[in-house]
Amino acid sequence: MNDQSAWTRIVNRIGFWGIVIITIFALAILFLLYPLFGMIARSFQGSEDRIFSLAAYKDFFRLPYYYRTLKHSFAVSSLTTLFAVLLGVPFGFIVARYNIPGKKILNAMVVISLLSPPFIGAYSWIVLLGRNGFITNLLRLINIEIPTIYGFRGLLLVFTLKLFPFVYMYVQGALQSFDNSLEEAAENLGVSGVKKLLTVTFPLILPTITAGAVIVFMTSMADLGTPLLIGEGYKVLPVLVYEEYMGELGGDAVMASAMSVIIIICTLSVLLLQRFTIGRRSYSMSGLNPPPIKKLKTGPFIILTTLSYLIAIIALSPQITTLVTSFIKTQGPIFVPAFSVKSYTDVWYKLSANITRTFLYSTIAMVFMIIIGIFTSYVIVRRKSNLTAVLDFILMSPYVIPGSVIGIILIMAFNKPPFMLAGTASILIISYTIRKIPYIIRSSTGILYQLDLSSEEASINLGVPPLKTFFKITAVLMLPGVISGGILSWISTINELSSTMILYSGRTGTISVAIYTEIIKDGYGTAAALASILTLATVLSLFLFNRLTKGKGSVI
């Protein structure tokens, strides 16, 4: 008996899905668990010959230079979350419940601002309100000095405006699926107006609001690009991790690892806190009987409509600013009042490779995500076992790992033989795939849970074997949904900066990296042109997404 027949026997025994499970496990272990545990182990490494040490953690909590950043991160993220809720909940409620005209346009504006990267927001607000900003200079003419936008205030401004759309979208979603008979029941029992909202409506959508709030908190805590651009002296934890790792003197990998672990613990605890308290009480409603849209009287109608569009325009102002400035003539960092397409021609000559790379890497990552999404969700849903539950858990873990930390764990794991991937396109594609895998798995399993098992059984009953049935029926039926999920991931991948900042090399820089370096080099015009190209790609793919999902898809 030779090796090949033994191999065939093994394959026959574990079957196609066994091989799928083993393959996904192998990939997850190699590209996620091994790097992650490598980093955790590194964080406990002692100096010289000591194998285990808490020195890095002790230093972190002892030295203000370190622990201050954690305090800063918490301050920024908590206040951002608070403001995002204060802005997103009423705005979402008003647009969902009242006859505000052009809801689709409003929602499109909010979605576009949501999907564009936060650091473009930071950059645009610098262009508008920074030391040499348009508005700053205008106000200076009439002798008004506005407070500095750099540091804490800037972070809060950028993050709130960038992230409140999460809360807005969640509130809208919850209110749209709200069962109106509950409110009618309250009224029938003699409770109306604000009291009805406080005793029935808001308690029921509270779990959804907090879910949105947690995303705001986690995103603002994890973001690297924004604080790098606008944080300046007010250092938050991801910035310190980045500096510590990329430090000019080779950096302190042990300290960077320890701090990465601390960030993960923070985001994870917030997520778990929400899941196991308010999130538990999430109520599912059919949405078959949504509340009617109320007509406002003229006065309130004008006020609320103006307010709604004002909020949406402010949220979208980074995109508007970059689009406008991309067509303004520049001399170094100075904008000159004249129309020009030079920014675009500059991009074309100097940075077209970055554009090609961005779309190439994101598309390859998207193909991986779609394939992994279909196969993995199938084994998680249809081949339920303890093993696939573990797989599900492992693949969800990147959800709580900030992008920059994913960058660090990958580069620490793969910067030496046999896995010499540092500086290659592969490591970027791997990082993009890992970052988005939790989202793609959630959306794919969601699709599969909604697919009726009897379609597959009907196919088998009609004589098509199970594996062939998977390809002829299940995969075909899942594909549109998984592709729409893939498009959303593609959008966030072309806009990705946090892990790219750590992983790119001269040969693999993307658009977002080019924007960042252009801003640092005061190449504001080219940065604006690049940002506009990203926005255009985002809008076009959103359009495609809407076509695919027939307008019913949710971007969150």
Partner: protein
């Protein structure tokens, strides 16, 4: 070709729970056989064991002489109609029906011919090129049936196929199904919880409860002579009264009537009376003294809820007669029973005494 189906002492377990507890059935070739029972009785589980979607823990199932226990679902050659029809949403009507034929490697010409024939049979020819989303529930039902029979299955399996249709369409579809089944003479196992549907459509019925068969028989047998109180209660409506049997007579206080017993029996028993098996009289007779509790007018008949002196209530139906009056609540009546038709059950075993 249509085959007889024999199920021999089969068992299905989910952990400690026994869903099917040693069921044996012999279904004739061409027979329309119904598994009837309340939800959770195991009827769908058994059907899915025949289809191959549930494993068989013990016993065996055979189509003709072919034991199918170990044959995977896709090689069993059964045609199944699902409760929600399971029409492939991405395929046209034509491609849905051709699906099983393609899997059987028929030529394009043969497929075309067979699909055409079966569409004629279910009267859906003009819908050939429609997408499933353009079909109504009843039309989807016809396509699901066409798709299942076009492959000429050895056994046709139907899992509550009419439960998603409205009442009128349900009655119409059940005669469509029955006619096509007789026309093709195809062995059919039909699952339903609707006793009226089962009585109307079946050659034979197995009434199931708790994973076992309670009674096996023709619709007439099951309705007129239920083998235990569960069947008497589940099929149609029965009122149950505690009685004593002595010297082949049913004793109810001063009222008594002859009992058509299978074996001699003495002592406590349960009398089951259907609403059409009792008579009410306003004039005093030998019957039980009782009071009308409630009268419900139902068109061609009136249903009375009648309170006996023992405290038990029974249902009685009276057809409208010319010049007849409707009794009203509070009226005193005398109740007598149709001794030939009523059923008697052993108080302890709940099994029929007749």
């Amino acid at each position: 070709m249509s085959q007889p189906l024999s199920i021999n002492d089969v068992v299905k377990k989910y952990g400690d729970f026994t869903a099917i507890d040693g069921v044996t059935l012999d279904i004739q070739s061409g027979e329309f056989f119904t598994l009837l029972g309340p939800s959770g009785c195991g009827k769908t589980t058994l059907l899915r064991m025949i289809a191959g979607f549930n494993t068989i823990e013990a016993g065996q199932i055979a189509f003709g002489k072919r034991v199918i226990n170990k044959i995977p679902a896709h090689q069993r050659n059964t045609g199944m109609v699902f409760q929600n029809y399971a029409i492939f949403p991405h395929l046209s009507v034509y491609d849905n029906i051709a699906y099983g034929l393609k899997a059987r490697k028929f030529s394009a010409k043969a497929i075309d011919q067979k699909v055409g024939e079966v569409l004629d049979l279910v009267r859906m020819s003009e819908y050939k090129n429609r997408q499933p989303s353009q079909l109504s529930g009843g039309q989807q039902q016809r396509i699901a049936l066409a798709r299942a029979i076009v492959i000429q299955p050895e056994v046709l399996l139907m899992d509550e196929p009419l439960s998603n249709l409205d009442a009128k369409l349900r009655v119409e579809m059940r005669s469509v199904i029955k006619k096509i089944q007789k026309n093709l003479n195809i062995t059919t196992v039909y699952v339903t919880h609707d006793q009226e549907e089962a009585l109307a459509i079946s050659d034979r019925i197995a009434v199931m409860n708790l994973g076992t068969i309670q009674q096996l028989g023709t619709p007439l047998e099951i309705y007129t002579r239920p083998s235990n109180t569960f069947v008497a209660d589940f099929i149609g409506t029965s009122s149950f009264i505690d009685v004593t049997i002595k010297d082949s007579k049913v004793l109810l206080g001063s009222y008594s009537f002859p009992a058509a017993l299978k074996h001699p029996y003495h002592g406590q028993a349960i009398l089951a009376v259907r609403p059409e098996e009792s008579f009410l009289s306003l004039e005093e007779n030998e019957g039980l003294k009782a009071t009308i509790n409630f009268a419900t007018f139902l068109g061609d008949f009136i249903n009375y809820e009648v309170l006996l002196e023992s405290g038990e209530t029974i249902q009685v139906n009276e057809y409208l007669k010319e010049g007849g009056t409707i009794k009203s609540a509070g009226d005193q009546v005398y109740v007598t029973f149709d001794a030939e038709k009523v059923n008697l059950f052993d108080l302890s075993t709940k099994e029929s005494l007749i």
